[in-house]
């Protein structure tokens, strides 16, 4: 039995066509079908935030989003953050500068979440950063440096 559907996704400014089962999540579509492995699979159950991407500019969990649901929406992954010449996004630079990771597995999700957190205006204090970054878990416990990186990036992000 084949139950496949062809969808067109707008990812990082490019339209990509893929044929998948309807149950395929955006996360699996990115990683397994489009070779965009920057977005990480942590819990795959909406609890860890490693799979965070932006849809129409808002941060969401790609593991709880069907690929078919976001046809026609603008999707940004961590691969789409850097500038045209490959220069790092201010949040990426801040994560490097402040050593805001250890193993790095949660980092793409942290960065995508932090970009949105700052853009939403929720990086006004360390407490606010902690509250609005709580959907991104870091099992290495790099939280103090993550908070630092978000706080500093907020000062320079346009």
């Amino acid at each position: 039995m084949t139950n496949q559907t062809t969808i067109n996704l707008n990812i990082n400014g490019q339209t990509q066509s893929l044929t998948v089962e309807p149950r395929v999540t955006l996360l699996d579509a990115l990683r397994d079908h489009l070779e965009l492995t920057g977005t990480k699979k942590g819990c795959d159950q909406g609890q860890c935030g490693a799979c965070t991407v932006h849809v129409d500019g808002e941060r969401v969990l790609s593991c709880l989003t069907l690929a078919a649901q976001v046809e026609g929406r603008k999707i940004t992954t961590v691969e789409g953050l850097s500038g045209p010449g490959g220069e790092l996004h201010p949040v990426q630079a801040a994560f490097l500068e402040h050593d805001a990771f250890q193993c790095g597995y949660c980092t793409p999700g942290q960065i995508m979440s932090a970009v949105a957190c700052i853009r939403e205006g929720h990086a006004g204090s360390d407490d606010e950063i902690r509250e609005y970054m709580s959907g991104n878990l870091c099992r290495c416990g790099a939280y103090p440096h993550i908070v630092e990186a978000v706080r500093e990036a907020a000062k320079v992000m346009p």
Binding site: G46, E58, L64, T65, L66, A68, S113, E131
Partner: protein, 327 residues
């Protein structure tokens, strides 16, 4: 996750027709349905995507109250300036729930319909018995690990806690759930488990939530949502309270009081006993403490969840005193 067919509904009528079909589930934000599909709890054969439907995500506040479309996102309602001003408990209940990412996905209609976090309910592979999942099969929570389970509104069949926050605020302020043309008072919308814990709400086949309305009131404007949990953020309530107060012209005698509890009951729990005990009184600390005990009248502990009987009245007490102090 089992495979299913996917249909993007082109209109509300199409969605409602689909909602009446067997083994079909409506998909909006996906944060509950896809999670439970991965757990093996939800096994739809057909998923009907309604998130793209137009005109169902309005947020309007006027002299009558608030109108919130079923597809409005949690984050958008939480941040709405009129909601924050006229219904602070509603905004607070939303931003203290879930995570920023989930709040950008989950809709208001779906939020009401979120399922319990009972670990037995969520793990059919390990625990086949669950009266909520498989009626008549039994309940592992009654004698099991039940620290998070309900002390109010339970039955011999089920003590699963209703996990949501928003619904607690809505119950306090007499919100109305719109099911297309039919309207149901929110307290009647949620059902007690009794002998049929698989029936959780008043939606009939072929219906869906289209909006909720909340009548304007002085108590709703002077309200808060107080949530206590095992960690400070991104966690379900151990106990929570939505409280709103209206004083008489003297500024200290309670004219109207609304109290509802979360995290301790099988449905969002209106605590009318507390309300009645304090109407006409002034909010002296001892009076409030004594009245707050009435929040857990009839509570039954099942072992590890006994702390909720102590915790819930304290949460109510703090919320009432906090609101009372803001003269």
């Amino acid at each position: 996750m089992r495979d299913f067919s996917y249909l993007r509904a082109g209109s509300l009528d199409e969605a409602l027709r689909a909602a009446a079909m067997p083994a079909t589930m409506l998909l909006a934000g996906g944060t509950t349905l896809l999670d439970l599909a991965k757990c093996g709890v939800s096994e739809p054969e057909q998923v009907v995507d309604i998130i793209h439907l137009k005109g169902l995500d309005a947020i309007r506040v006027d002299a009558e109250g608030a109108f919130i479309g079923a597809l409005a996102k949690m984050s958008h309602v939480a941040a709405d300036s009129a909601i924050k001003q006229q219904f602070p408990a509603v905004s607070e209940s939303l931003w203290q729930a879930a995570s920023a990412q989930i709040r950008n996905m989950a809709t208001i209609g779906g939020n009401l319909l979120q399922r319990t976090r009972c670990a037995y309910f969520r793990d059919p592979a390990t625990f086949p018995a669950c009266n909520k999942r498989a009626p008549g099969s039994g309940c592992s929570a009654l004698e099991g690990v039940n620290r998070g389970h309900a002390v109010l509104g339970g039955s011999d069949a089920c003590i699963a806690t209703y996990p949501g926050d928003l619904a607690v605020a809505l119950v306090a302020f007499d919100a109305v759930v719109h099911l297309g043309k039919r309207k149901v008072a929110i307290d009647d919308f949620f059902l007690l488990p009794g002998a049929t814990p698989h029936k959780e709400h008043a939606i009939k086949p072929g219906e869906m939530i289209t909006a909720i309305t909340i009548p304007a009131s002085v108590a709703a404007k002077r309200s808060t949502y107080w949530k206590v949990r095992d960690r400070q953020s991104y966690e379900f309530a151990a106990a929570s309270a939505a409280v709103g107060i209206e004083f008489e012209a003297d500024g200290k005698t309670v004219k109207d009081l609304r109290v509802a509890l979360g995290g301790v009951a099988t449905k969002p729990w209106r605590a009318r006993g507390v309300e009645d005990a304090l109407k006409g009184k002034t909010l002296e600390p001892d009076t409030v403490k004594k009245a707050s005990r009435l929040a857990v009248e009839g509570a039954i502990a099942h072992g590890a969840n006994h702390y909720k009987i102590e915790l819930a009245p304290r949460v109510v007490e703090r919320a009432i005193l906090k609101m009372g102090a803001l003269a």
